[in-house]
């Protein structure tokens, strides 16, 4: 009996040990504590909280997780950086903020070398746009997404339709699938995010945002056409689509009230397959935007220069971004992995076929420019597109006003390197 209890205890210890395992070598950080700052919500924050417990178990380092919603994350993080606050040791940074944040972040190259992190393992299209500045690395990519369609496979099959290949087809399909009970499409049309939908159409039609010298290059004809296409689509969306944030858009889709939506896949992957939340389990899939790619969303983890626990902070980053964690976060929470291997693993792909619909877009995504003017430039564009869709201004006025403001913005502190985006 004693022997049995002994074996049982050994078994329990072994199991407990394997529950918190890491594929990278972690230092003993007993007695240390770090504060990590993430975006609040149902994706990144829960991942951080879950990993914090495991990291503490493995290293002895206490991890305090602080989270704020996207709307206030930028200003709070940047305020903490420019005031040289030592409050945070790790920041989750959106790639479009890199231009403003990098002067205050620690270069990570020495840590990467020391820990033997293989940067070539990251998706090149993501790595090229996220966390780096030319030759120096300031953040390790932790999550990525590319705007894609989510669509109801059952409804498309019933109607004999395929995912759209052109933006005109998007409207046609939305019209064909709109019934008394179901809307053909749903947008997250709140002012602060609606500009993206116009940009997607405008760029796919051959429009450009800026010239090499950072002067605006908005094309009136293409811009108006893209705007009208987007406005026409509203007819097939729920009446309140212009007031929808991501949660409302997500609910419209997973409650079966919309046949198609343009989304960040990470936000929908897990809830769409959760029978407690979703009415469309097993009846949805992702498809890339027309042209095969869309606007990129990518987050990296960086360390403020003033952090007092840089070693522990980097250990956290290495732990959080390793393959096993990314696999776990994807499977359980839906966070888009940044490592190519996960998108190329046949077994993993067979378990998660929706990944195949996102990877082509991530290989060659459309990035936002990430210079000091980014935040205001994109905010202004979002507000003008919102004003156009709400009927306050014409499409021509929208293009003229964006051009005017961007001219003013980029005339001051013009970046000293050429613009290379679309």
């Amino acid at each position: 009996m004693k022997k049995f209890v002994c074996f049982l205890m050994i078994g329990v210890f072994l199991l407990a040990g394997s529950a918190f395992a890491s594929e990278i070598e972690l230092p003993d950080l007993s007695g240390e504590a770090i504060t990590v700052y993430y975006m609040a919500g149902t994706t990144y924050e829960p991942a951080a909280r879950r990993a914090a417990a495991e990291f503490e178990e493995l290293t002895g380092c206490v991890v305090r997780v602080v989270a704020d919603p996207y709307l206030t994350l930028f200003e709070k993080q940047l305020t903490s950086l420019i005031t040289r606050s030592e409050a945070y040791d790790v920041l989750q940074v959106a790639y479009q903020w890199d231009g403003l944040f990098m002067p205050y972040l620690e270069p990570l190259d020495p840590f990467i070398e020391e820990h033997g992190i293989d940067m070539d393992a990251f998706i090149p299209g993501v790595l090229a746009n996220c966390g780096g500045s030319f030759d120096e690395i300031y953040g390790i990519p932790t999550a990525c997404d590319v705007y894609s369609f989510i669509y109801r496979t059952d409804l498309f099959e019933e109607a004999g339709l395929e995912p759209p290949q052109t933006w005109e087809e998007v409207n046609e399909i939305a019209a064909a699938l709109t019934t008394d009970d179901i809307h053909g499409h749903v947008l997250a049309g709140l002012g602060e995010q609606v500009g993206q939908f116009w940009r997607a159409r405008y760029l796919a039609m051959g429009g450009r945002l800026l010239n090499e010298d950072w002067t605006p290059a908005l094309d009136m004809e293409i811009g108006v056409e893209a705007a009208e296409l987007l406005r026409d689509l509203l007819e097939y969306c729920p009446a309140g689509t212009l007031t929808y944030g991501y949660p409302e858009q997500m609910h419209a889709f997973i409650l079966g009230r919309a046949a198609m939506a343009e989304v960040w896949p990470s936000f929908l992957r897990a809830p769409a397959d959760d029978p407690d939340e979703s009415d469309v389990v097993g009846n949805w899939s992702f498809a890339p935007y027309p042209g095969g790619t869309g606007e990129l969303s990518a987050w990296s983890l960086g360390i403020p220069q003033v952090s007092r626990n840089k070693e522990a902070a980097f250990a956290w980053i290495a732990f959080f971004t390793q393959e096993s964690m990314q696999k776990e976060f994807f499977t359980d929470i839906g966070i888009g992995p940044t490592l190519s291997a996960l998108y190329e693993d046949e077994e993993f792909l067979a378990q998660h076929p929706d990944l195949a619909g996102v990877y082509p877009g991530l290989k060659n995504p459309i990035p936002r420019f990430n210079v000091a003017q980014s935040q205001e430039a994109y905010d202004f564009m979002d507000a003008r597109v919102s004003a156009y869709l709400a009927g306050m201004i014409t499409a021509e006025q929208m293009i003229e006003e964006i051009t005017g403001r961007w001219e003013e913005l980029f005339a001051v502190d013009t970046p000293d390197f050429p613009y290379i985006g679309p």
């Binding site: 709307l71 930028f74 200003e75 940047l78 305020t79 420019i82 403003l100 049309g189 709140l190 002012g191 602060e192 729920p238 009446a239 309140g240 689509t241 212009l242 007031t243 409302e248 419209a252 000091a372 935040q375 205001e376 905010d379 507000a383 003008r384 919102s386 004003a387 156009y388 869709l389 709400a390 009927g391 306050m392 201004i393 006003e401």
Partner: protein
């Protein structure tokens, strides 16, 4: 005697000094700092750059900012609409509820609830109630034939903000006017009744002139507070759609803390402050005149 007066003077200053120091540190120094910054080229993101005096350049940039002028018009429209409704409804309620009848005391308390709720909660509450899919107010009004895109249309979103502000602040107006009405002497009313004056005549020629000072003070307080409106709009519409409900405080916040353009934001804050001061001064002056006329 003179020595005693001097002693009292010194003790008086001793009592006042801590409050004065506290106010100076927390209010005056930041105010002076922002005033100073508004005349320079200070860049929060590049503090290493040499600081230069730029005169009124930031003020000109601030005034030429079309979003700032749009926000100014929105502020006037929203404040004008909501204050008019608050005073109209508040006055009517106060005339009814200032009477001592059974149950009125409970009503006064119940009607005060919207004013107790924090502005952020008010924003969240109304955002849910006006939700186009399941919002109780939106669906209720749709049943009555008012199926409107409350938060998605430039005009209706302004109406929604006015409606929410009115809901939230009418109780305050009602309460102060009830206090004003209750402080009035009965004598002129009794005399008017004996002279055969009707209800409207009493209201028009006795009640209204007598509560004018209370109305003016309440209006001044509400006006100054309304200019600071931020939280509710931030949550309810975030200034959208487009810039339809963007008010000055929200615009200045975005310029300062979202785009980190501290110099223009400071200049715009001072322009805003000057406007509030001028409007308040005119109303206060008018109020003083009213008071002297009554005297």
């Amino acid at each position: 005697m003179a020595k005693k007066q001097f002693q009292d003077f010194k003790i008086g200053w001793l009592f006042v000094l801590p409050a004065l120091a506290f106010l100076s540190i927390t209010s005056l120094i930041p105010l002076a700092y922002s005033l100073g910054v508004s005349f320079t080229n200070f860049n929060l993101l590049r503090p290493d750059r040499p600081l230069q005096f730029v005169g009124f350049q930031n003020y000109l940039t601030g005034i030429r900012d079309t979003e700032f002028t749009t926000a100014a018009w929105n502020t006037i429209l929203i404040i004008g609409g909501s204050l008019a409704l608050q005073f109209l409804i508040g006055l009517m309620l106060s005339l009814i509820l200032s009477q001592e009848r059974k149950g009125f005391r409970v009503w006064r308390t119940v009607l005060l609830i919207p004013n107790i709720v924090a502005p952020v909660v008010v924003g969240v509450l109304w955002r849910l109630m006006l939700n186009p899919d399941y919002g109780i107010v939106k669906l209720g009004l749709a049943e009555l034939g008012l199926d409107l895109p409350w938060l998605a249309h430039p005009i209706w979103s302004r109406v929604a903000v006015v409606m929410v502000e009115t809901w939230s602040w009418t109780p305050f107006v009602m309460l102060t006017l009830i206090a004003g009405l209750k402080s009035l002497s009965d004598t002129p009313f009794e005399a008017a009744r004996i002279d055969g004056a009707g209800g409207f005549q009493i209201f028009r020629y006795i009640t209204l002139p007598m509560i004018k000072p209370v109305l003016a003070v309440t209006f001044l307080l509400r006006l100054m507070d309304a200019f600071k409106m931020f939280d509710t709009i931030y949550v309810l519409t975030y200034g959208g759609p487009g810039l339809a409900t963007e008010v000055l405080s929200l615009r200045i916040y975005k310029r300062g803390l979202k785009y980190f353009d501290i110099t223009t934001a400071s200049a715009q804050s001072w322009i805003f402050l000057a406007c509030i001061f001028i409007v308040s001064y005119i109303i206060a002056k008018k109020f003083i005149n009213v008071e002297s006329r009554l005297e």
